[in-house]
Amino acid sequence: MAKAIQRSYERHVDELRNALREAEVRYRTVALDETQEGAAFLRLKFDSAAEAEAGAEVIDDQFGELAVSPSPQGGAFLRARLTAEEQERLKDWAVEQSITTMRTRVNQLGVSEPVIQRQGEQRVVVQLPGIQNTARAKEVIGSTAQLEFKMVDTEHSLQKAVDQGPPPGTIIRYDRQGQPYLLKRRTVLSGQYVTEARSGFSQQTNEPLVHISFDAKGTRLFGRLTEENVGNRMAILLDNEVVTAPRINEEIPGGRAQITGMANPEEAHDVALMLRAGALPAPVKVVEERTVGPTLGQDSINQGMKSIVLGFALVVLFMALYYRLFGLVADIALMLNLVFIVAIMSLLQATLTLPGIAGIVLTVGMAVDANTLIFERIREEVRVGNTPHAAIHSGYTKALSTIADANITTLIAALVLFQFGSGPVKGFAVTLSVGILTSMFTAIMVTRAVINLSVGRRRLTRLSIGEG
């Protein structure tokens, strides 16, 4: 995130210079004050305190996102800082922009039904079903793909720069083999002007490479650059690593270039893909990864299903034996409940995970519990000597508040889980919440309806509930 703010400061250096020039304010320098954590503020130096005042006015007028303050160095100096709101906005924008870029890249990878979501302030969740080569997926999603063109510096000695640090205005960058390059600090052209990129092979050497085309502004910049620098070398950097540094042999007016130095055709393909999708505004780091292989996914779901079906069958059998006819009615409600849960889960497009399966199991337990509460109550009423109809009626009425209390407390726990949990815990909370609601409906209303239908207005002397 610091990177997005750093970039904004770098952009502002040029913009401030232009604005001050246009307003005819005489300034000496506009520079970044860099600390180890990145840019902290912009330092401005003017000819006089009066000029500085005029400069402050220009900045106040034209750059609402900058806050100007006097510098301890004196009246001719100013400091400009990005406001707190602007920094927040930049961070927010960086995340949103990253999501857009990742989505484009993932779409080009050809993944069916990817999910890319923001999670919290600075995190993005990417779900890629069916991806086999996860190492490559991580590379394609996570690379910043910042393409930069910088001129190679020839005025200073490379060896001396490596030993004693680069002279002002230059930086040292390395290529993949660890070879150092001394480069001019200024980025002369960047990936934002690239409109088209595709991979291919060099006609002469058959090396894999990437063809890029610039937009109108990029074409102009590139043409002028190559014209002015015939004979010099220009380094092409991808994420601060020198990919290649060819010598400019002649002016290139057409706005087309080639990037060689690719390790293999696959890399050329991925680099082209990332250049088309654009760079990420800030570097991303993978903080969590969960990959399930195709065999484990199937195996564990099969196993989970098998164990559920068996457990379910045992419960169905138990209920029928224990509560006879009423048990059978509860079993019907239980199956209906399962159908509801699966239907709602597929409506919500939730993926069925192991914790999700476990949530269903717990729901089955809760549904059975509701019926147990009712049936035990009916048995009690029968024991006390109430008629069957009265026993059913008061059994349902009396058990209702208990069931409601028990389910609401569990629902509270489920909602808290949903709020604070992440990933698998959340999945569990969703199934549990859905299950509690459907099970209250099936275990109370559906069983009541079925029992009323079957008992009807017939005179009964005893109930088939395993009592008496």
Binding site: Q303, G304, A358, E376, D405, A406, T410, L417, F420
Partner: protein, 320 residues
């Protein structure tokens, strides 16, 4: 058919001192084990990388270990997982080392490179959790627990009475600590699904306790001549049938999940089984007895109108 006789008259509350001794002993063992042995925290909380692979034929853990050692993962933990051809590798995050998502790729390469000629290694599962995320998950897990308990405390004090709320939350903490103790003593891996299981245990145990409380409230209104302790005893006895049936059915499903659900779901099922067992115990021996000890009386659970009324109406009379 009955699992318990229909008219039990067991003196549960009379044994509350013995029950408290049992609970305190269990809690002491659990807390001591947590303090001394701690929990076998999974990478969800410690941060690190987990790779599960399947070989096409059984493989020796020792040779896998040496392959990984050669690749620079000397601290990796290797074990078989379910079958002798299934291997689980854990690479803990070590002071900033091994903290990148590239570790899994390197581990897989090392395993593939070390496999004997003609043996295929297929990736089953890869999990990488950065140390920062691990810390967050721990904090969030504890937060979720605390908020769930507070929410329950509020709801139960509104629906019943503060002393009942304290009794039920004490029962929950009792259950959670004992389940944690079981995990600490057995050294089973404590990961994210287990947290979900423990929260489910809270829901379940609470359910049990609420059912008993509900009956106590009802009986306090109905059986005016009996003392509070006696009413609680009657209530626990009356709900005993339901308590046993529900625990039985839930355990049927959970045991099936434990034995057939596969190794991935093992810890989850174990936590739930332990939780259901202690949850059933605590709903009988912790929740109501504690409320009694705290001094709950008949009037605490009645609305004003009820206390001013003239005893039970004829229709509500209950044969003792």
């Amino acid at each position: 058919m009955h699992l318990v006789p229909s008219q039990t008259r067991l003196n549960f509350l009379g044994h509350r001192r013995k029950a408290f001794v049992v609970s305190v002993l269990l809690l002491a063992v659990a807390v001591a084990s947590l303090a001394v042995r701690g929990l076998n925290l999974g990478i969800d909380f410690t941060g690190g990388t987990l790779v599960e692979v399947g070989y096409t034929q059984p493989v020796s853990v020792g040779s896998v270990r040496s392959d990984l050692h050669a690749a620079g993962f000397g601290q990796a933990v290797v074990q078989t997982f379910g079958a002798p051809s299934d291997i689980l590798v854990r690479v803990p995050s070590a002071n900033g080392a091994n903290d990148s998502a590239q570790v899994s790729t390197a581990v897989l390469e090392a395993l593939r490179g070390g496999a004997p000629e003609g043996v295929q290694v297929t990736m089953r599962r890869v999990e990488f959790v950065g140390p920062q995320v691990g810390q967050e998950l721990t904090v969030k897990g504890l937060q979720a627990l605390a908020f769930a308990l507070i929410g329950i405390l509020i709801y139960v004090s509104l629906r019943f009475e503060l002393r009942f709320a304290i009794g039920s939350v004490a029962a929950l903490i009792h259950d959670v600590l004992i389940v944690l103790g079981v995990f600490s003593l057995t050294g089973m891996e404590f990961d994210l699904p287990v947290i979900a299981a423990i929260l489910a245990v809270i829901g379940y145990s609470l359910n049990d306790t609420i059912v008993v409380f509900d009956r106590i409230r009802e009986n306090l209104r109905k059986l005016r001549k009996e003392g509070t302790e006696s009413v609680m005893n009657v209530s626990v006895n009356e709900t005993l049938g339901r308590t046993v049936v529900t625990s039985t059915t839930t355990l049927l499903v959970l045991l099936s999940l434990f034995f057939l659900g596969g190794p991935v779901i093992h810890g989850f099922a174990a936590a739930l089984i332990a939780g259901v067992v202690v949850g059933t115990y605590s709903s009988v021996f912790v929740g109501a007895p504690l409320a009694l000890v705290l001094g709950v009386t008949r009037t605490d659970l009645m609305t004003r109108a009820e206390t001013e009324g003239e005893g039970p109406k004829a229709g509500e009379a209950h044969a003792p």
